[in-house]
């Protein structure tokens, strides 16, 4: 979500937290895998991303505990497992993540929108 007056990224749509039809788990990154302050961790995550990222893409940061608690509140007992890939050593996945839970997606999106960083800001 982008503010129309300032052009700033101000939030995330709940749809960003939906699994795609071919996904079983929600892909996330374990920030603390990388050393440094949050900006450096995000820079490393972007550098190792397997997706084709554009400056307008964004990363929302949610603490693991808050993520798990929010899911639990909405009836989902998720397990977050570090599953590094060849290219992305911080790659992790939220297992048993629900395919359809609008309340949860909306709340996670709201949480992510509170700590949102655009790829363009990190690479600037």
């Amino acid at each position: 979500m982008k503010d129309e007056e300032t052009g700033m990224a101000i939030g995330v749509f709940p749809e960003a937290f939906e699994l795609r039809p071919d996904e079983r788990d929600l892909s996330v990154n374990w920030m603390d895998f990388f050393q440094g302050a949050q900006r450096e961790q995000l820079r490393q995550i972007i550098a190792h991303a397997e997706l084709k990222l554009r400056p307008t893409h964004g990363y929302g940061v949610i603490e693991v505990g808050a993520f798990i608690d929010t899911c639990a509140k909405h009836g989902a007992k998720v397990r977050i497992i570090h599953e590094q890939t060849d290219k992305d050593p911080s790659h992790s996945a939220a297992h048993q993540y629900p395919r359809d839970n609008r309340f949860l997606f909306a709340e996670l999106a709201n949480l992510a929108g509170r700590h949102l960083t655009l790829v363009g800001e990190i690479n600037a």
């Binding site: 979500m1 503010d3 700033m8 749509f13 749809e15 939906e18 609008r102 909306a106 709340e107 509170r114």
Partner: protein
């Protein structure tokens, strides 16, 4: 499912936007656009609407830029057909957002084009609620139009589905605790379900938005 072209798009009521597209001249894009417009400019029958083929849910394959251009043009044409109900400035900003959302570099070959049926639901919502202020627009993986508002830490999002259905959610923080509601509603019931969440706060208040 087809989209319908209102009579106001017949040649006599051709909006400026279309004239500008027609005068681009020379490029493959304008040629294709002219072909499409020549179809929709055929005088409407007496009942005032003509069906035209819908391009919804077509994955982008080949000629990506042309298809994205056409998808954006479809949205602008639809908007122009109700432009008499929209302030010029609001409509111009909407067109700018449509262009922003249809930058070819932001689209993958496998993405679904914007669903015109979703956009009609969006437009009818705008006509119902009035031109909504400080609105973020997006498109989901199925080509549905999304709109969102953030006021303080609270958020309202709407996903416009076909046939005037709207998926909605409100998340608000009250005394440090989060409260969320969500659902799917028919457009005519939207004011009722949003009633307890102060629609004016979202749609009418453009001032209470964080700037940093």
């Amino acid at each position: 499912m087809s989209a319908f072209l209102p009579e106001s798009l017949a040649p006599s009521g051709l909006p400026k936007l279309l004239q500008q597209h027609l005068s681009l001249g020379g490029t493959a894009l304008s040629s294709a656009m002219s072909d499409r417009l020549s179809n929709i400019m055929t005088p409407a029958p007496s009942h005032g609407i003509v069906a035209r083929p819908s391009t919804v849910f077509q994955p982008i394959e080949g000629q990506k830029e042309l298809k994205i251009f056409n998808a954006a043009a479809d949205l602008k044409i639809a908007t122009s057909s109700v432009s008499m109900h929209l302030p010029d400035d609001w409509r111009r900003r909407l067109f700018a957002k449509i262009d922003q959302l249809h930058q070819p570099d932001d689209w993958e070959e496998t993405d679904h084009l914007t669903d015109i049926r979703s956009f009609w639901t969006f437009l009818r919502t705008v006509l119902q609620q009035g031109p909504m202020k400080r609105m973020s627009l997006g498109i989901d993986g199925n080509g549905n139009i999304l709109a969102g508002w953030k006021r303080g830490d609270d958020t309202l999002t709407l996903a416009f589905l076909m046939d005037d259905q709207i998926r909605w959610s409100v998340v608000q923080w009250i005394s440090g605790r989060v409260e969320s509601v969500a659902g799917i509603v028919d457009l005519h019931r939207l004011p009722v379900v949003l009633g307890p969440y102060s629609p004016k706060r979202w749609f009418g208040d453009g001032d209470n938005v964080p700037t940093s």
